[in-house]
Assembly symmetry: C2
Homo-oligomer: 164 residues x 2
DNA sequence: CGGCTGACTTTGCTGTGTCATAGCCAGGGC
DNA sequence: GCCCTGGCTATGACACAGCAAAGTCAGCCG
């Protein structure tokens, strides 16, 4: 039955970076917390409030994010207050910028209808809005109908790839 | 109107395209099925086998994907077989290309260690590997430290706070 | 006709994410 | 010393994704 390892390669699946990523940021609230962090939210209470999940869920997600290295707890102290901790994105967390922008672009294009996005990303130098695009290492822009998916196992299932 | 640091706007949250997107593709298996579809997988059994979730979950996810317009059932018939249906990505589903590639890039950079990715996307014309980059509408490449996040909570003129 | 195959559906159970509510704790202010 | 606030932690309930195993169903094939 599952003898046909050519057909099914659990190892390959486990190695798939998309699946690996989704193991870390695969839940709705996790990604929304990261998105909030991109907008400068840093404190526990603000996350809980703005993300719209309860405090228990917020604490659990933030703990996960710190554990997986996307955010870190940084001490801060306001005058007349005791020392507390705020949550900041690490470089690893910042690396999700493209993914979050891509999801935003997709949602804006296909889901939001005529509604106006309540926030946007701007290029710091020129102020113009930022989007994701696909580009090949040779420097060409790659449109949706200009790519080929290549499985690097010996399985030529996918795109009409005659690998020659 | 409100102090931004203490601002809770469920409307704005609901309008957030990232959250909207995650309502549709917010589960691990949904996005992995879409990823599989990018590699040419079309038949029910192949999805179940390659995605690594059971048939019941596969059927449920595919049904969701068809319902939300990311995939469509297309009849096909192999010689000596009866008519069946295969699942194809619609334009809406294809639009997730950037998001999936961004997640792949991130997973590859931060999670996969030294392991080799079992598949890749190539530019059809030149064969070079494809990645996502951020670009502003003025045409500049935008690096991770060159963007500004702007909350548009003040509801710009195009969208008064009432949905009339 | 009856078996086989691909594509599901159904059933029963588990695990996880979330909620609501309540409680705990550290430390500055009174 | 006690209260108050921000930042969690604890508890019980619930919804839903997931699994495994079994059942359904259409139609080609022998």
């Amino acid at each position: 039955m599952e003898d046909q390892s050519k057909h099914r390669d659990p190892e390959a699946m486990a190695h798939c970076p998309v699946a690996l990523s989704l193991d870390v940021v695969g839940t709705r609230s996790t990604l929304i917390i990261v998105r909030e962090a991109f907008f400068g939210t840093r404190r526990f209470g603000d996350f809980a409030e703005r993300v719209g999940i309860g405090e228990a869920a917020t604490a659990a997600r933030l703990k996960d994010l710190v554990a997986s290295g996307l955010m870190e707890k940084v001490p801060y102290q306001e005058p007349g207050q005791r020392k507390r901790y705020e949550y900041q994105l690490t470089d690893k967390g910042l690396g999700l910028f493209h993914a979050i922008m891509s999801l935003r672009d997709w949602g804006e294009t296909w889901l939001s209808g005529s509604r106006v996005t309540p926030w946007r990303f701007a290029h710091r130098d020129c102020g113009a809005e930022v989007h994701t695009v696909a580009r090949c290492t040779a420097g060409h822009d790659v449109h949706l109908d200009e790519f080929t998916a290549v499985r690097q196992t010996e399985r030529p299932t996918a795109a009409p790839d005659t690998h020659n």
